[in-house]
Amino acid sequence: MANLEVKFCGVKFSNPTVLASGILGVTASSLKNVIRNGAGGVTTKSIWLEEHIGHKNPTMFGTEHYFVNAVGLSDAGMKKAAEETFPEYNKNKPAPIIANIVASSMEDFAKLTEEITKCDPDIIELNLGCPNVEDQHGKPFSCVAADAAKVTKLCRAMTKKPLIIKLTPNVSDIATVAKACAAEGADGFCAINTLYGMGIDINMRRPILTNKSGGLSGPGIKPSAVKAVYDIYKATKLPIVGTGGIMTGEDVLEIMMAGARLVGIGTMVNYRGVEGFGEIVKEMEKWCEENGVKDLEEIIGVAQ
């Protein structure tokens, strides 16, 4: 029987599959249900300092090839996380939890890091996919290496928890952004967030999403995720939560061979349901058996 256990920044996961942020992540009960279904860990939906109103429905749609969403990062804010989500998740805590936080100013990011640390998550993940209100072009933090590095530095100073940066693939060179963050003390990365996407209903002649455009995820983006993980691993050698288009146990192994240590899974739920986590773990075990892999350490980054 292969050992699927992996350590990520010193945190032990019973298997490398981790629920990606924003899927089934609104409440502690929902997160625990995902663990019950086989995931090795969970990530919270992005948490803001204050309550944040998202976009109106439709907030997502999918086809067999991809999924597009514009939920708009709706969240009840840090208060709910501190009073409800974390206390409830941490009582007979079933597996590690990654706190994903988001803000539109560097100052808020630092404050949030300080606040969320008190909730005792295992890992803190900065969602830099949100536009920087201070930047004159209003580009997302992780589109500009210097901005990403600055946020990393400020947050790093606020916590001793493992700090990982979630990067957007919508840049010409993701490795440069990753290196800049690593230089400021990032412990690892989560890649990728969604690509740009839009769908138009030709009968209505209107964009499907009320927000018009959204984020592209699902089966169609797997090669972009594998490429990003490969490049970030090569550039930094830091641990990575490889995320994007993972649907099967084979997909998990593929992105791990590119350099991922944990594997984020979100849109899969749309195709296989939450039970998919358990099925994927079985698929991994089967492949490891057949291919004589005793420990996943053997395959992390092996395709480099």
Binding site: G22, T27, S30, L31, K32, N33, N57, T63, S74, E88
Partner: protein, 276 residues
Amino acid sequence: MHIKTFDTRFKTLRIKKILEENPTTKTFIFEYPLGGKPGQFAMIWLPGFDEKPMSIAFDDGKEFWITICKVGPFSSAMHELNVGDKVGIRGPFGTSYKFKKGENLALVAGGYGAAPMYFVAYEASNMGCHVDFLIGARNKDLLLYTHKILSLANTKLHISTNDGSVGVQGFITQVLDQILADSHSKKDYKVFTCGPEVMMKAVGDVCDKYKTPAWLSMEKYMKCGIGVCGQCAIDDTGALCCVDGPVMEWKKLRKLPEMGEYHRDAQGKKHYLRAK
């Protein structure tokens, strides 16, 4: 692994007919084989504005109905629509009510719940079930679907209003208690209820008194409707109202801290149903 072909984009349908059920409620009829079962819901889209879940009030494979109560921005916008206008539809989604030939059913409806319950009664009476249809309303003007219900075979309509303007004065749970007191000994007796959560909880309690199994139409804030966003998760099992529900068995809900106590809004924040 085989990925099932999965497409959640919309069908564009034109409204074929609109029925005025009461001053605040309209039924929209669409000619399209949606294939919905009693208790399931569909997502209704007004492009550029919003999209909401709506129960299927009738579906015979040729046309289906949606009955909408005017309470806020979206339902009001729906009430502005005319025959021939286009809306986007996706679904059917969720679980449905299950019953067999000749069973005895008590359907307890509150508010627009009478509409989806009519769909149950329609199918049940066709299957030769004995149906007691209970509707509770604040007053006469808020009743709906009564004529349609009366036209169904082996279906008995029971009404209660808080002001006694029609039917029994008081709460519908009292009527249910009566019925179960007489007939709970009948085998295969089942209670289905759709309405305000506080009412459904009271219905559940009555059923417990008579050890009668009950199923509820749960209504939680929904975004995706397909089990992805987690918005409709119910504490503390994390069951999803959109895929594990909306029709859920009372015995699985009875003990839940959330049941009849609070809802969550679009941001996932709790709102208590009763001032604490």
